[in-house]
Symmetry: C2
Subunit: 213 residues, 2 copies
DNA sequence: GTCTATACTACGATAGAC
DNA sequence: GTCTATCGTAGTATAGAC
């Protein structure tokens, strides 16, 4: 399975170094293969990069499917179910963001979010659109917010869930740690869960002021 | 001022392409200079990269100084002042994160957060340590949380403030926009301000349950 | 200080043997 | 399918003219 081996190595290499920084020779070498195998199987470096994007989208979609799939059956008025689903999804996200095993995927996507290339379309169409859309719909149901506000809040919620990655080096230094261990991962998860609740409460209160009077 | 021109171009190039992706020839060309000027002034590509990190830290520290400097005079019991200061800082952060002019700085730092190199130490020591520490202290004063929780929540708050950058491409697509315009920037800022309040309220309630009974 | 020349290495692509 | 060999084109670094 030379193509699969190449793809695994490529995801790690592109995640770490980016498209321009990674080298086809290094990737082929790490996959115990020759550089020309990349040309044969993927048509070149660019093709390998796009294949890596497809695979990342696929892996992420599979990983989140359990929680995301049930979301579209939630009734528009069932705000408790929507909130429970949001909590479940963000808990899973938070677990993944403190797991070094998925760091390459995060880096790959973060790069594409800031500097979208053709690879972003693959990941967006294959995964991000679905999860962002699902989350925003759940936020609408859970809080009564309008769609635009829900989209912004969804992005903010995702941003805070990604914070163990996007501020990784700073957070580790502030905590005096070198890696996320089991204890700190639990602390991060409970903090984020509390934040999700607080943010949704606040938003719901803004959209249904009568409930508070 | 060849060195300054080189540095300006370098920050943009390194921000966009990363250390390995950027080329000294391209940087020198865009700065209307010869490549060997990089060697002369900065000792090489690596030196230029570190100089770019120093300059970014310096620029950011200057930009935030107005709001951050007053923070250490806030009394440990003055939770209203701490909260107001947090709101002011996050408002400024939120403005910067929807401003394309500072995108290179964000990209540079985000890269270093995920993959720290020697440049991260420069930025952390010159800016991040100060602002993360200040924010965490303000969170402690505003909510009564312990230091570790405050550090995690600070990272989460920063993560959501950065979300217009870290999820930029997805958020723009969800909103059906191509760029952040004035209207959407205002909407993002008001959303984030509400979230900051909600998160601090929630955290304060957890740490002072007696106030609610 | 700044440039031009050049040296050297590494890159990605490709042709052709097996 | 997979490898070796090679080509052309980047890349950084350096020496030396001005």
């Amino acid at each position: 399975m030379t193509p699969n081996r190449l793809l695994d190595v490529a995801i790690a290499a592109f995640g770490y170094h980016g498209l321009e920084g990674a080298s086809t020779r290094q990737i082929a070498g790490a996959a115990d293969s020759a550089m020309s195998a990349i040309t044969y199987h993927y048509g070149g470096k660019e093709g390998l990069y796009l294949a890596a994007a497809d695979r990342i989208a696929e892996t992420l979609a599979e990983g989140m499917a359990v929680h995301v799939d049930g979301a579209d059956t939630i009734a528009p008025g069932d705000c408790l179910a929507a909130r429970a689903k949001l909590q479940a999804i963000f808990r899973l996200l938070s677990e993944k963001m403190t797991d070094d095993g998925t760091a390459d995927h995060s880096r790959f996507i973060l790069r594409e979010q800031m500097n979208p290339t053709a690879a972003f379309d693959r990941i967006y169409d294959g995964f991000l659109e679905h999860i962002f859309g699902t989350l925003a719909t759940l936020v609408v149901i859970a809080t009564g917010a309008d769609r635009r506000t829900a989209a912004i809040v969804t992005s903010a919620l995702v941003g805070q869930a990604m914070s163990p990655r996007s501020s990784k080096a700073s957070l580790l230094r502030q905590l005096g740690l070198r890696h996320y261990d089991a204890e700190i991962r639990a602390a991060i998860q409970s903090c984020l869960a509390a934040n999700v609740d607080a943010m949704l409460d606040g938003l719901a209160a803004n959209n249904r002021p009568k409930d508070l009077s």
